[in-house]
């Protein structure tokens, strides 16, 4: 089994057993939709309001997953154990980003239907194109989230620093995702302007390459 595979299997096994990240993210998303319902005093959303509520909620829920991503490594000696092995160190970046991506996918499997149910934005027609946006955005959130998680896990005030660092960094992604989703959720139905997936793709590429280049420096001593 490859190093990335071994790491990923280990993380997923631990998550399935301890259920730390995914249930919390999903519950948080549902709770946030309810909060938005009462905060905005609306039973139905459409257009850019719907897009905004959806993406802001997904982003905030993602923060929970990002917070916990490296905690087991830190508290249970995972960094040392990994660093002692004769393996390529960027494997940890790939494995953790993939794990976060899978958690986000799991989150959306729950959150998107909940969104459709609670706030009735008329998702039906929008679904295929929305899935593309979700996919591209998840890659970006996974990569940036892993980087931020690695930067903050060994310091103090981790829970404070994660949102402070991650939210500005994820803003271009949020802009592209929300602006792309908005026309899809318009009352009359619309199509996805190509510029937004393009921006997401560019974002994913830039941060993917960047993380790959700098990650080693976060692990070594």
């Amino acid at each position: 089994m490859s190093t990335v595979g071994a790491l990923l299997a280990k993380d997923l096994r631990a998550e399935l057993r301890a259920k730390q990240s995914l249930p919390a993210m999903a519950l948080f998303a549902i709770a946030t939709f309810v909060v938005f319902h009462f905060g905005l005093d609306r039973a139905r959303l459409d257009g850019d309001l719907a897009a905004g509520v959806l993406w802001v909620t997904l982003l905030l829920a993602a923060l929970l997953g990002i917070n916990r991503l490296f905690v087991a490594e830190l508290e249970e000696g995972g960094f040392d154990g990994f660093l002692l092995a004769p393996v390529d160190r960027t494997a940890m970046l790939v494995a953790k980003a993939t794990a976060l991506f899978l958690y986000l996918a799991g989150l959306e499997l729950v959150a998107v239907p909940a969104f459709a149910l609670l706030l009735d934005p008329g998702l039906g027609r929008a679904l295929p194109e929305l899935l593309w946006l979700l996919l591209l955005a998840d890659v970006g959130i996974a990569v940036v989230g892993t980087l931020v998680a690695a930067l903050t896990v060994q310091g103090r005030a981790r829970e404070l620093l994660v949102p402070l660092l991650a939210l500005p960094l994820l803003l271009p992604l949020l802009i592209a995702a929300a602006r792309g989703t908005a026309p899809l959720l318009e009352a009359g139905g619309g199509s996805l302007p190509l510029r937004w997936p393009a921006v997401l793709g560019l974002y994913d590429m830039v941060f993917g390459l960047l993380s790959y280049a700098v990650f080693d420096f976060l692990l070594e001593d």
Partner: protein
């Protein structure tokens, strides 16, 4: 004790700073293959730091470090798989079982899974191998940690108080794996000078990051020993 041409460890003026302090200050030593080195010294003397440098976890800031014939940190990748570290942290994931933990480390080190089962048997943990590490007593965790340290059959063992948390029966079980009888080169951090003298070929005392005491041939100057801890 086999004496081979290349010493297992060669340090010359190893220095490592922590901010403006010196964690290790010009440490030099040579340890032949198959020999045992015991490290003594008060807390904060740099023993754990030295162990971590030897394990390739920390890079030297100055001086020369040669482990198993390779220069660190440049060739760290080449020796990583030949060193086993048993520190204060057992390096085990608490939510996974002992067997799953060891299988994971086996995968990282490209070692077969059957070795995992054999080792668990050898330390008497076969019965509890499929329960989460969280549920095991500290002594049991230490036994599993020993398995983890020798899983990949390392040439060099770095042991930080390996006997801690082990009752005499358990200690006897792990002895063939990490003791003198294992035939591996060993660096052992200990707090009991008598025990150190008994099992070590070379004894070094560290204080303030510096080597202040050297003993070989089973004799320790009592005055020097008092100064080490005093």
């Amino acid at each position: 004790m086999t004496v081979s041409a290349t010493p297992a460890i060669e340090l010359a003026g190893l220095t490592r700073t922590y901010g403006e302090r010196l964690a290790l200050d010009g440490v030099s030593l040579a340890l032949p293959a198959g020999a045992t080195l015991a490290l003594l010294g008060p807390n904060g003397a740099g023993k754990s730091t030295l162990l971590r440098v030897l394990a390739t976890l920390l890079r030297p800031h100055a001086g020369r470090v040669r482990v198993l014939g390779r220069d660190l940190p440049r060739d760290g990748w080449a020796v990583r798989g030949r060193i086993g570290l048993l520190g204060h942290d057992p390096l085990l994931y608490r939510d996974l079982t002992a067997r799953e933990n060891l299988r994971f480390h086996a995968q990282l080190h490209r070692v077969g899974g059957d070795r995992v089962d054999a080792l668990l048997d050898a330390v008497g943990m076969a019965a509890r191998a499929d329960e989460p590490v969280r549920t095991l007593s500290r002594g049991m965790v230490q036994r599993v940690a020993v398995c983890r340290a020798v899983l990949h059959d390392p040439e060099l063992l770095l042991l930080d108080e390996p006997g801690s948390h082990l009752d005499p029966a358990a200690a006897a079980l792990v002895e063939p794996l990490i003791g003198r009888a294992s035939g591996r080169t060993r660096v052992v951090v200990r707090h009991d000078p008598a025990g150190a003298l008994a099992e070590a070929d070379l004894v070094l005392g560290l204080r303030g990051g510096r080597v202040v005491l050297t003993a070989a041939g089973g004799r320790l100057d009592p005055a020097a020993l008092a100064a080490l801890y005093g």
